[in-house]
């Protein structure tokens, strides 16, 4: 790169300032290094500026600006950009009531999302966790399959025109969990959802494939209990980078 340097020069009295030295030290303002290795080698050597608190630099390898705090380099910003295809944590929260809505979860930044629920539990009975998008209470279609490895039990359910999507049936115990993938919830398109849940009920392992069948842009989703029982759990929402 045109601005990349390998040294930050320092001058002594009566030294001749060459054009290339001026270009290297003054023209860039903030010294630009290819990597942290060349950054570290660029200070403190013969004819180089000693590294001191307040020094700035730019790293091409991670596209970040850093400052030296007197003991170590710290990143000013941006935070290291996510690699292509990586997940980015957006937000999260706790389930603690019968129904929990996460607003402003979906935006134009991502087309697709991953939602995880750890330590999923319910206060009583065997409620089913239900999913809805935005304020929509109709036009959901889904297939729900569940199996129990111990009882060789298989259960299937589904609907072509439901008020919500069934995800997993819970029991009042611990260590149940749920993951969901949302495709195109913010785009003005059909939103599709794929989920997997693990519970301690007859329908122990549950898989759902569903959709909201009307092209709609949603910014929020709701996880609710099918009964008055309260749900608990830790929800984390991630966005899949678009490229």
């Amino acid at each position: 790169m045109a601005n990349t340097q390998t040294t930050v020069p320092i001058f002594v009295a009566a030294q001749v300032l060459e054009a290339n030295q001026l270009n290297q030290s003054a023209a860039t303002g903030v010294p630009v290094f290819a990597t942290t290795v060349t950054r570290d080698a660029g200070f403190g050597g013969a004819g180089e500026k000693p590294l001191a608190e307040g020094q700035l630099c730019y790293l091409e390898s991670t596209n970040v600006v850093q400052y030296y705090d007197g003991a170590a380099w710290a990143t000013v910003g941006p935070a290291a950009p996510a690699a292509a295809g990586a997940l980015t944590y957006i937000s999260g929260g706790s389930l603690s009531t019968t129904s929990t809505t996460f607003t402003n979860a979906f935006s134009a930044t991502y087309d697709n999302y991953l939602v995880t629920v750890n330590a999923l539990n319910c206060s009583a009975g065997f409620p089913v966790v239900l999913l809805t998008l935005g304020a929509a209470t109709a036009n959901y279609a889904y297939s729900y399959n569940a199996a129990n490895q111990f009882a060789n039990f298989a259960f299937q359910a589904g609907s072509a025109a439901a008020a919500s999507i069934e995800l997993v049936q819970l029991q009042n115990t611990t260590s149940q969990s749920l993951t969901m993938r949302f495709l195109s919830p913010f785009l003005a398109d059909r939103t599709t959802i794929f989920s997997e849940g693990l519970a301690y009920t007859a329908s122990q392992w549950a898989q759902t494939a569903g959709a909201h069948n009307v092209a709609t842009s949603f910014t929020s989703f709701t996880l609710a209990s099918s009964t008055a029982a309260t749900l608990s759990g830790t929800v984390r929402i991630y966005g899949f980078a678009n490229s």
Binding site: S91, L95, T97, T98, T100, T103, N104, A163, S226
Partner: protein, 73 residues
């Protein structure tokens, strides 16, 4: 019955509000529960009908359900 509660979490600001279901939400919740009970009864009836038919066939064959499953491998 205690009124169910709803929590709203804003993923941008982090603001969290917890409140009782409003009238519309309560009506939808109750209607959904009634529908679920109806669906469960209909499903149980369908399953019982199938089980009865299966038993009739097994009786004709003179097999128990375990023996029939053993035949299927």
């Amino acid at each position: 019955m205690t009124t169910p509660q709803k929590t709203i979490i804003d993923c941008v600001t982090g603001e969290t509000v917890t409140r009782d279901f409003d009238e519309t939400e309560l009506r939808q919740f109750e209607a959904a529960q009634i529908q679920r009970e109806k669906d469960a009864k209909a499903k149980a009836k369908t399953e019982q009908t199938l089980a009865d038919k299966r038993q009739i066939i097994l009786d004709r064959l003179g097999l128990t359900a375990d023996e029939f499953n053993a035949l299927l491998g």
